[in-house]
C-alpha cells in the first residue's frame, strides 16, 4: 500500500475512534389511538389522571407547559412534540382545547431512553371526551 494511502487510512481509523458518531434517531411511521393526557399526573400516579375526572387538571397542566402525551389502550405513552405543521409543544392552545379527548393520529415515532416521542403528521379523528371517569372518581384533584 502506498505510504500516503496508509497515512490516510490510519488517520481515518483514529478519527473514527476519537470522534463520536453523529446520533441519528430512527423514525417509524405509526397510527396511534388514545386519550390525550397530562404526562406528569399520569406517570406519577399521584391521582386518577384519566378521562373527565381529570379534565380540569389536565387543562391546568397543559396551559402550564407540562408535556401532553397520548395514552394508547395498552398503556403506552407517546409524548406529542408536534401537531401537523405546528411545532409549539409548550402550552399549545390547539392542544389545550382537545385535552382529554380520544383521538386517532398518524405520526412519526422516535424512541429514545425510555420515552416515545411522537411527531403528529395528521389528526385523523377526534371523538371528544369519551372516558367519563368523573362519575366514579369525582373531580381530581381536590374535588371542585
Amino acid at each position: 500500500m502506498p505510504r500516503f494511502a496508509r497515512f490516510t487510512l490510519a488517520a481515518l481509523l483514529v478519527w473514527l475512534a476519537v470522534i463520536p458518531a453523529a446520533r441519528s434517531e430512527s423514525v417509524e411511521r405509526i397510527r396511534v389511538e388514545g386519550e390525550l393526557i397530562d404526562t406528569w399526573c399520569y406517570v406519577t400516579e399521584i391521582m386518577y389522571a384519566r378521562g373527565s375526572a381529570h379534565y380540569q387538571c389536565a387543562v391546568w397542566c397543559a396551559v402550564g407547559g407540562i408535556p401532553v402525551s397520548i395514552r394508547a389502550a395498552d398503556g403506552t405513552l407517546y409524548v406529542v412534540l408536534r401537531i401537523e405543521d405546528d411545532t409549539q409543544n409548550v402550552s399549545n392552545p390547539a392542544v389545550v382545547r382537545i385535552q382529554s379527548h380520544q383521538v386517532t393520529v398518524d405520526g412519526d415515532l422516535i424512541r429514545r431512553d425510555g420515552v416515545n416521542y411522537l411527531l403528529v403528521t395528521q389528526v385523523a379523528d377526534d371523538e371528544g371526551i369519551v372516558d367519563l371517569t368523573h362519575e366514579k372518581f369525582g373531580i381530581q384533584p381536590w374535588g371542585m
Binding site: R23, E25, V27, T39, W40, Y42, V43, T44, E45, I46, S52, A53, Y55, Q56, C57, V59, W60, C61, V63, G64, G65, I66, P67, S69, R71, G75, T76, L77, V79, L81, R82, T87, Q88, N89, V90, S91, P93, V96, R97, Q99, S100, D108, I110, R112, D113, G114, V115, N116, Y117, L119, G128, I129, L132, H134, E135, G138, I139, W142, G143, M144
Partner: protein, 174 residues
C-alpha cells in the same frame, strides 16, 4: 507509600461520589433523587434536527442531555401544575447543574426539576420561573393558585366545563 485507614477510605469514597442530593422526595413509585450536570437541548432539535434559535423561546419542550448520551425529558418544575421549560431556557445549548427527581415508570422515564444553577455557581435557583413569569404577564402579586386565575384556563373551562363537556353535570363539591 501512604497507608490510608478504612474510615478515611470510606470518607474519601463518600466525598468522591459528588454532592449529596438535596431534592425533595414526593413518595412517588420509581422516584430517585438525581443531581447532575447536563446540556440543555430542545427536544425537537435533538431528535429531529428542527432547531430554531434559542430553543424556541419558551415554546419548545426541553431535555437534559447527560454526558453518557442519555436524554431525559424535563416535564415538571417547582411551580404547581407547571413545566420546566422557562427554568431551563436560559441554559439553552449550554451546561446546567440540576437537582430533582428521575421517575421511572413502566410507561416512560421523566425528570422533575426542583433546583438549577450554572456549573461552578455557589447558589441554587429554585425552579419556579413559571410562577415569576405568570405574575409578570398577568400583573398579579401572587401566582400560588395561578391555575384558578389564568385567562387561558378560564376560557377553556368556561367553554367546556370542569369535566370537559358542557352537557355533563360535574359532581358536587367534596
Amino acid at each position: 507509600m501512604i497507608r490510608l485507614s478504612v474510615p478515611l477510605l470510606v470518607l474519601l469514597s463518600f466525598l468522591s461520589a459528588g454532592p449529596v442530593a438535596a431534592a425533595q422526595k414526593w413518595g412517588i413509585d420509581g422516584e430517585m433523587t438525581a443531581q447532575f450536570e447536563a446540556k440543555v437541548v430542545d427536544l425537537l432539535c435533538e431528535l429531529n434536527g428542527d432547531c430554531p434559535a434559542g430553543c424556541g423561546a419558551g415554546k419548545r419542550q426541553l431535555g437534559l442531555l447527560r454526558d453518557d448520551g442519555r436524554l431525559l425529558i424535563a416535564v415538571k418544575s417547582n411551580t404547581l401544575f407547571a413545566g420546566a421549560t422557562l427554568d431551563l431556557l436560559p441554559y439553552c445549548g449550554e451546561r446546567v447543574e440540576v437537582d430533582g427527581l428521575i421517575i421511572t415508570h413502566p410507561a416512560m422515564v421523566i425528570y422533575m426539576l426542583q433546583k438549577h444553577r450554572r456549573p461552578g455557581d455557589a447558589d441554587w435557583v429554585q425552579a419556579t420561573s413559571f410562577a415569576k413569569d405568570w405574575k409578570k404577564r398577568n400583573g398579579s402579586p401572587d401566582a400560588k393558585r395561578w391555575f384558578r386565575r389564568d385567562p387561558a384556563v378560564k376560557d377553556v373551562i368556561g367553554e367546556f366545563g370542569k369535566v370537559g363537556r358542557p352537557d355533563l353535570v360535574p359532581p358536587p363539591a367534596e
